[in-house]
């Protein structure tokens, strides 16, 4: 068990790191006004923000699965591409990961806003405007969270044994059939953990949403946006909303971890 021989000096920074990560959440929980929490949560604004958040985050995860899994498959098999093309593709996937979400929101606005590159012709041709709508929230969340799914699935695909696919092909399976029935089940744990990560990231999305989709109760005001606004006048309701977000994320992570994530680990 070589891991037992950890140099002692690592313990101090590791302990500081744990405190740094855990103490803010402890502080949040100690400040929850438990006696009024029920009433604050049952307020129509809280409920509509919760429902909107769950619905949009689910839709964003679905969009990320439909679009992101094929992208992950392309990325995983892009090694023989010319280097510039491969690097561009990888940058397109990873830049949203490191971009401040507010910048993502501005970029979405400049693309799909009423004066945007695509938004302006879209509006003049079809009359459709995207910003300030619920689909805009889903778009913002997908932009920010899909890369998490893509990278998780790509990693799983690269780790999967290619011989299963080859055997399937030798037995007469079409490429599509082999991908669907052999490769995807092989990477299921990676797929699920990627989808969970994507969902929780979409649930917490704030910057791109408030910039691109705005903030209107029931339409675009998701839980994080409501929590931020709540802080302006009623810190108690902000704390309760934050607790709600924390609870949903923890429940999702814990319930799926036991079923799936340990398989992948």
């Amino acid at each position: 068990m070589p891991r037992r021989d950890l140099p002692g000096i690592l313990w101090l920074p590791a302990a500081v790191a744990v405190l740094l990560l855990a103490l803010p959440l402890v502080a949040l929980i100690t400040r929850v006004p438990w006696t009024r929490a029920g009433a604050l949560l049952a307020a129509p604004e809280s409920l509509s923000a919760l429902l909107l958040s769950l619905g949009t985050a689910l839709a964003a995860t679905a969009a990320a699965l439909v679009l992101g899994v094929p992208l992950a498959a392309v990325l995983a098999s892009s090694d023989r591409w010319p280097t510039p093309a491969r690097r561009l593709l990888r940058a397109a996937v990873t830049v949203p990961l490191v971009l401040p979400p507010v910048v993502g929101g501005i970029a979405l606005l400049l693309l799909l806003g009423r004066q945007g590159l695509v938004g302006a012709p879209l509006q003049s041709l079809t009359g459709i405007t995207v910003p300030f709508t619920t689909p805009a929230v889903v778009l913002a969340q997908t932009f920010v969270s899909m890369p998490f799914l893509v990278l998780a699935v790509e990693g799983a695909l690269r780790g999967a044994d290619p011989r299963y696919g080859i055997v399937a092909a030798s037995l007469g399976a079409s490429r599509w059939h082999a991908f669907r029935r052999v490769t995807l089940p092989l990477v299921a744990p990676g797929l699920v953990s990627g989808a969970v990560l994507c969902f929780t990231r979409a649930l917490g999305e704030f910057g791109a949403t408030i910039t691109f989709a705005g903030s209107l109760p029931g339409v675009t005001r998701t839980l994080p946006v409501a929590a931020y606004l709540g802080l302006q006048t009623s810190p108690d309701s902000a704390i309760v909303l934050a607790l709600l977000l924390l609870a949903v994320s923890v429940v999702v992570l814990v319930s799926l971890r036991d079923r799936w994530l340990r398989v992948g680990a």
Partner: protein, 258 residues
Amino acid sequence: MRRRAAPAAIAALAAAALVGCASTGAGSGAGTGATAGTVSVFAAASLTDVLEELADRFEAERPGVSVVLSFGGSSGLAAQLTQGAPADVFAAASEDTMAVVADAGLLAGESVVVARNVLEIAVPPGNPAGVTGLADLARPELAIALCDESVPCGAVASRVLAAAGVQAVPDTLEQDVRAVLTKVELGEVDAGLVYRTDVLAAGGRAQGVPFPEAEEEPTDYPIAVLDRAADPELARAFARYVAEDGRSAFEEAGFAAP
């Protein structure tokens, strides 16, 4: 020897990083345990241009003195102050917000109103939707941005709209007045309710449509010295300077005299 030095350096770095995080997380950071010559000011976002100019002049007249300004939504700043954020002077965009800080017992003395602002409709250059008055905000086909009611500009907007009997149909309720203005400047909304001074500050990127109902609900900007001021003498001097010598700067920016 080297092998020992490295981990110690890492630990020291981690500790330094923590301390750094702590001080920026508190709000303004600078001006905390201030030296005698520093005034730390928390101020409403709509005062940005005027206070920057006044601070420069104040510093020029008093060599060695430095004014550290932090701008933000008044309500958010008030919340930071009641949570213990360090500042010497607070300038708010509404009496209500100042009252939050006063009720928490954080003021040294009374607040003084230094300027007055009124709402104006901001539209993109050329006014593409032909907005002429408050009633246009009820046109469902227009994209409208307002401040959320939880911040002062939104509270004033809802009072003005209610008094005029206009049922506005906003497409978004923003967290501060500058966010509303940005949506207008980008052409994403046809109209937004902002302060007159914001329209002026936008230069050519937005156009103002004044409306008479706004005069009924002016916004007052109070300034006050906080009781935790590191150098109360200097903090009072700056607050007085803003109130007395700042008049022309406020007028240039579009504020009215209180």
